[in-house]
Symmetry: C2
Subunit: 465 residues, 2 copies
């Protein structure tokens, strides 16, 4: 999950994309028709914990998986291999070229008022420093307003944004755009208080962006604790000087793949429900929550249908999209490779918010489609995953949602998600086998029933969330 920013998608009005073959189905009949199969899916999902085991195997074997890395390509090979041995259909890698950012060695050393190393992580996409580093006095600001007010003090300094965590969507603005704002007032580098609600002296990385009109400067995250300490030192009138060293750099784009597997539809194989998560992660921790878990639960949901011998009318396709974290190239490559088929994509579902206890989905589509998926959602009431709210999607399915495909994001109890997000602590033990199984059940029931409804979800006119 990259940013709450990108989750609020501008959904285009896409009225005539899908042929309207008939009236929308009688929603009341969904319960009658699908109760038994939904219960079978839920029972079978809850009876095993292979989703957690498989995620442990993925993350133990390959560790983190940044775009362009060998570990990502080996992980994709492994997924394709296992998808084939699972007996899934049309298993293939669909090519995507991805950016290749490399962190290299890096450090932040406090020089004044006392010498000590501070835990840090360069932000994804940042440029590096000269080999000797950048040593400069620090100006700490609490927000962009304070930077503006103190712009005259920033020239030649390293600006530290010590912005308190409000929520991810609000506070991530400093990570996304802090380097540009600091460079505009003459700063030589920038530091960020990590974007997290929880303090464990853990830096959190994530994507940062430059602006072609402003000279880029290096940008790195430090811990919440150390940002607060430097701020206190400034308030006491002490001179604060740090040395930042970063070898970060971009290499040429690298070839990668979306990993794809299907159960082909029995009567309408060209119509598709697509679901998945993203295979890449940041280059820290093991990318278990973000988003190995999302890939695994979608994949396990498909494998569950296979195990139960279920083949819906339409095709259900799982995709492990690549390069969600720093480029969206997987989502874009999928859109381009399937441009001719998007009119027959009935629904796209993404899981990229952590596979904790599921509460349901957020849905972006027409009112009539919302009424239908809410009726499908009721089949998940027994595990509390029946809340279908208006608005939702995911970065990877964003490009096809913009082309009119109704989109849906799995919602989970994510109160601790940002404790671990983009840090060394994103590991499989933060997830619970039973909760992951509930996510598998939730994805499986929604995907199966929507793929099997007599009529495709009506696109109609989409209302903003």
């Amino acid at each position: 999950m990259r940013s709450a920013l990108s989750l609020t998608l501008a959904i285009a009005t896409a009225g005539a994309a899908l042929p309207l073959r008939a009236q929308a189905p009688d929603t009341a009949s969904i319960d009658v028709r699908y109760r038994a199969v939904a219960d079978r899916l839920v029972d079978a999902a809850l009876a095993d914990s292979s989703a957690w085991q498989r995620l442990a195997e993925l993350t133990d074997r390959f560790g983190n998986r940044i775009s362009g890395s060998e570990s990502l390509e080996r992980a994709i090979d492994w997924m394709l291999d296992r998808m084939r041995s699972d007996g899934l259909e049309h298993v293939r890698g669909e090519r995507a070229m991805v950016p290749h950012w490399v962190r290299g060695a890096e450090s932040v050393e406090l020089i004044e008022p006392r010498r000590t190393r501070l835990p840090m992580l360069g932000l994804g996409g940042s440029i590096g420093t000269p080999k000797e580093g950048i040593t400069a006095p620090v100006l700490v600001v609490s927000d962009y307003d304070e930077l503006t007010a103190r712009a005259a003090e920033a020239r030649g300094k390293i600006v530290l944004f010590d912005a308190p965590y409000v929520n991810y969507g609000v506070t991530v603005q400093y990570r996304a755009h802090g380097a540009v704002a600091a460079a505009k007032v003459g700063a030589v580098a920038a530091l960020l208080r990590s974007v997290s609600p929880f303090e464990m002296r853990e830096p959190h990385t994530g994507a940062t962006y430059y602006d072609s009109t402003v000279k880029p400067i290096p940008f790195a995250a430090i811990s919440i604790e150390d940002a607060a300490m430097l701020h206190r030192m400034q308030l006491r009138g002490q001179s604060v000087v740090v040395q930042l060293k970063m070898e970060a750099h971009m290499l040429p784009d690298a070839p990668s793949r979306n990993a794809v597997a299907e159960i082909t539809g029995s009567t309408n194989p060209d119509e598709v429900v697509v679901m998945g998560g993203h295979s890449d992660s940041w280059d820290v921790g093991t990318g278990a929550m973000d988003d190995g878990g999302g890939v695994i639960v979608a994949w396990e949901a498909l494998r569950l249908m296979k195990r139960l011998g279920l083949r819906p009318r339409r095709t259900v396709r799982v995709v492990a999209w690549v390069n969600e974290e720093n480029g969206d190239r997987g989502g874009e490559a999928y859109r381009d490779a399937h441009a001719a088929d998007l009119a027959r994509h009935v629904l796209a579902i993404e899981s990229d918010g952590g596979v904790f206890r599921p509460s349901g989905f957020g849905f972006s589509g027409s009112d009539s489609a919302l009424a239908i998926v809410r009726r499908v959602g009721r089949l998940l009431a027994r595990i509390g995953a029946d809340t279908i709210s208006r608005g939702g999607g995911g970065t990877d399915i964003g490009p096809i949602m913009e082309r009119g495909v109704p989109g849906m994001g799995l919602n989970t109890e994510g109160s601790r998600y940002f404790w671990y997000h983009h840090s060394d602590a994103d590991t499989v033990d933060k997830l619970d086998p039973h909760e992951m199984a509930e996510c598998v059940a939730t994805m499986a029931v929604m995907a199966y029933v929507v793929a099997d409804l007599p009529e495709p979800l009506p696109r109609g006119t989409v209302q903003a969330p």
Copy 2:
């Protein structure tokens, strides 16, 4: 706080140490006599947050403070300086020689089944490895019983103790004695799952011990997450190989000091209530909880009496003991320097469990003394710090408790204490200014009233807790 082990002290029977001048005071009169002054102390303590500010200044200025380090000596200089400018009396450093263990560079690298660095911390007191490190297959065990059962497999290996956290006192046994147990069965080094109930990929250090009958081997902590991962790899039948490098070594003992300050008693200046915490910490984080906060709240409690113009009958003495973490040399030096005065030590109070919301004290002394301090405790009911339980003390006051001095440990709501303990995350932001002020109030009321009672606490016969 080093270990729950050392908190359960063998209290000697010390009947005749203090002259019994009269009957124990009428405990009912304590409330009448001391209610007003206790309320003044509590009100004044709660009205300011200088304890937190002072702890922030101590930890920001000097960082962590391991015995033998320059940062510790500079921190002690600063404390003595401030104690003098606070107007406290008989401010001095009392000499103690301390062990001088130096960590140096260190690393754990997983070699098989995939190469990656694992966050780690060598355990305090461990020997180092040869310069090229120790590279060996890993044998993971869950406990000492499994090590015994698999002793034949351990020779030439690095034994990893992946012992689940039960409570600190139980689980710390692996940290204290794991190297000896592993060496006994032929291991070449040992690793430890960090002793903490909470996982954030954070290694936790702490003291480890050797046994003169067994060749010492290097011993380091890794994170809970990585211990679990290596265990899963072993269960899958994968070969797990790590390389451990540690430069850890001992230097000759170094000179240090207990920092001491007083308010001299008005009528019985030779009788003493002593209270404090320890100035040293491990060489990670900033030693804010363990135990900068303990030193600061005792010191602030004395400063509060000074500010309010209160001078009790007996002397109240604050000590920032040195070398609690890896030697007890401060506590022993205090005992030796004051050997002739210990009979006139009425009470010793330690704060070394984190200065969170206080609940009261644990007390080790005679039944009659317990009845009195319970009555004093009632003066703290308004802030919920009135529970005086049987048994308690502290490592630093252990040596004088063994000589018969009644001892007391501040109890606090420490549910998160071991999340941060002995890790990089032990920083001031984990503590709350208001809760620290409550600790100041609690220490001040107990110390003042016991120092001012008409009669000293009766020693009598001590019952085991």
